[in-house]
Amino acid sequence: MFARGLKRKCADHEEDMGGALAGFRAVPSYSLQRQSLLDMSLVKLQLCHMLVEPNLCRSVLIANTVRQIQEEMTQDGTWRVAAPQSTGRAPLDRLVSTEILCRSMREQDGVHPAPGMGDDHVLGPGSELSTVTSAQTPRDPQNSVWEMDSPRENRGNFQKSLDQIFETLETRNPSSAEELFSDMDSSYYDLDTVLTGVVSRAEPGPCDGLQGLPPVATPASSSSCKSDLGELDHVMEILVET
């Protein structure tokens, strides 16, 4: 079902869950999966800048998805500012099956956690809930997600994360764009190919019983690469201005 070599997520075979998932009992909550979708989307937005000029339609659709999630989380009251940075544990841990997100919103009404309740209780042992980090004070939900506070500084962060991604490619000179891209097949945007070539796998988290979780993770080492909604603004600006 997945592109090249990517193993299927177990949750696509709910009837097979049985023994393979000994360590993971709870069905992932809606908000956990929504968070996971948010992280995935932010990673997609960042990564698509690496190849030829990003597909604007795709970027806009992903950005709209992020905005929808943000709006819903704001209404829920689950849109929180987390003060401590995560210890760098990759979103991989929280990327459990998001199939539940495909179901209609109406079905989810009963599943929404009460505001303020938090999601800790549904996670597997040992993992942290790292919410979306933001360096800014809590946003006014009315503000457009595109609002930018400090373009230059955010751009610097973004450039740093780009550089880190480039460095892991083990090419000589990240600035020689043509060399960098020469052996990349940019014909079809193939997320897992890019990721497996780019990113060193994050250390296994508590959910590694779920084999074949796709390695959708930014380099685990640096928190500046973290999906950070504060960076979304300048990511979009860079994307749409090119």
């Binding site: 030829v52 199939e99 997100l101 919103m105 595109w146 193939d190 959708v216 600006e237």
Partner: protein
């Protein structure tokens, strides 16, 4: 009528399917159907020509053989933005034939080119001052004069670029469409549509511009555009939000205000985070009659009556079984695949591609549909293609394929239907299949 035979889809596999070395990115028959053009990721155009019917072997129509191959676009580098401009051919559109030569427009992300394809099957011989190999003769050896004559030679097909329409698009071109006046054409990118005259390359008119003043407010892009087949002042464009706007160029120079807006209200019971993405229209095509238009979104094909804006008149589900898999398809990016669709010559059947090298046809009159597979392994040559079925859930019957066994790398994005006959061209990633219905 193609579907009037008892068996739905009497298509059979010709003895050969055409292998290409690069990913096919567009397929288009010319107006007579005699020629079939393909564009690929490497910037090449390959044109196939139908053999003249063989009277002896009357059980099949002529096969398609390579007629001409040329390099249409080369990769470029945009130094200002430090980004590559791909040479991949996004679209090819044929001009109607006016003389012995054929003309087509081919485009990559940024530049449109008009190509002339002409045949040469005679050459002049008997020059006085030149030898046959081109060397000049010593004039003193010329004692008599003769008139050069044309002698037959092996057919040579030459392609030459006649016009290059460049530097008019900031964003990636997704569509080109030739006007019914055969003098102008439009080109559409993500945010703008330009109108060109075929003879004029140094300027174009901008007729649609949806770029917001502040790019951070961008939430919608243009995904496809097409001129009406009969009204030279009318065109439509589709968007990533599932809307189609019909514009009349007589109303104003800048067609920012649509004449009609086609949009189906969302089904609230199906709403999810992926609703918008799957509503994004990947292709729009007018019927030959000009009375209807067809749109393709991720899961369905819709037929719209131009006189009714609030909902389509027909909706066909292409692969509804994918609705529960949207999250995985978002993750592996398949949800962004842009499928095209096409009409048959009489507008009675529509066709579109799917995954696992499947393609689907819908008969608008009988409401029957069929799923077929473009592969050599699974189809014996000269046999009728076997219909396929995907098992969405529950027990899988024999010969059915379960959703989870589908190969999402094998996608059929580009299909084309001969304008007059039941011959179809179906492009898998690397292969071009040409199927025709059984002629008794």
């Amino acid at each position: 009528n193609f579907f009037s035979t008892p068996k739905l889809g009497m298509l059979y596999a010709p003895p050969c399917c055409i292998l290409t070395t690069d990913i096919i990115s567009t397929v288009e028959f010319n107006h007579s159907g005699e020629l079939l053009a393909t564009g690929d990721k490497g910037g090449r155009v390959v044109i196939f020509q139908q053999e003249q019917e063989n009277k002896i072997q009357s059980h099949s129509r002529g096969e398609y053989n390579v007629y001409s191959t040329f390099q249409s676009h080369e990769p470029e580098f945009d130094y200002l933005k430090s980004l590559e401009i791909e040479e991949k051919i996004n679209k090819i559109r044929w001009l109607p034939q006016k003389n012995a030569a054929q003309f087509l427009l081919s485009t990559n992300d940024k530049t449109i080119k008009l190509w002339k394809i002409s045949e040469r099957d005679k050459r002049p011989e008997g020059y006085n001052l030149k030898e046959e190999d081109g060397r000049y003769r010593d004039p003193t050896t010329v004692t008599t004069l003769r008139v050069p004559v044309f002698r037959p030679m092996d057919l040579m097909v030459e392609a030459s670029p006649r016009r290059i329409f460049a530097n008019a698009h900031t964003y990636h071109i997704n569509s080109i469409s030739i006007n019914s006046d055969y003098e102008t054409y439009l080109s559409a990118d993500d945010l703008r549509i330009n109108l060109w005259h075929l003879e004029i390359t140094d300027r174009s008119f901008n007729i649609v511009d949806i770029k917001p003043a502040n790019m951070e407010e961008l939430t919608e892009v243009i995904t496809a555009a097409e001129f009406h087949p009969n009204s030279c002042n009318t065109f439509v464009y589709s968007s990533s939000k599932g809307t189609i706007r019909l514009c009349d160029m007589r109303a104003s120079a800048l067609c920012d205000r649509h004449s009609k807006l086609f949009e189906e209200p969302e089904d609230p019971s199906n709403r999810s985070f992926f609703s918008e993405i799957i509503s994004s229209i990947s292709d729009v095509k007018f019927s030959h009659s000009g009375r209807y238009m067809m749109t393709r979104d991720y899961l369905s094909v819709k037929i719209w009556d131009l006189n009714m804006e609030n909902r389509p008149v027909e909706t066909y589900q292409v692969h509804e079984y994918l609705r529960s898999k949207l999250c995985s398809l978002y993750e592996n990016d398949c949800i962004f695949d842009k499928f095209e669709c096409c009409w048959n010559g009489s507008d009675s059947v529509v066709m579109t591609g799917s995954y696992n090298n499947f393609f689907r046809m819908f008969d608008r009159n009988t409401k029957r549909d069929i799923t077929l597979e473009a592969s050599r392994e699974n189809n014996k040559p000269r046999t009728v293609l076997k219909p396929r079925k995907v098992c969405a859930s529950g027990k899988r019957k024999k010969d059915e394929i379960s959703v989870d066994s589908l190969d999402f790398n094998k996608k059929i994005l580009h299909t084309a239907w001969h304008p007059k006959e039941n011959i179809i061209a179906v492009a898998t990633t690397n292969n071009l299949y040409i199927f025709q219905d059984k002629v008794n």
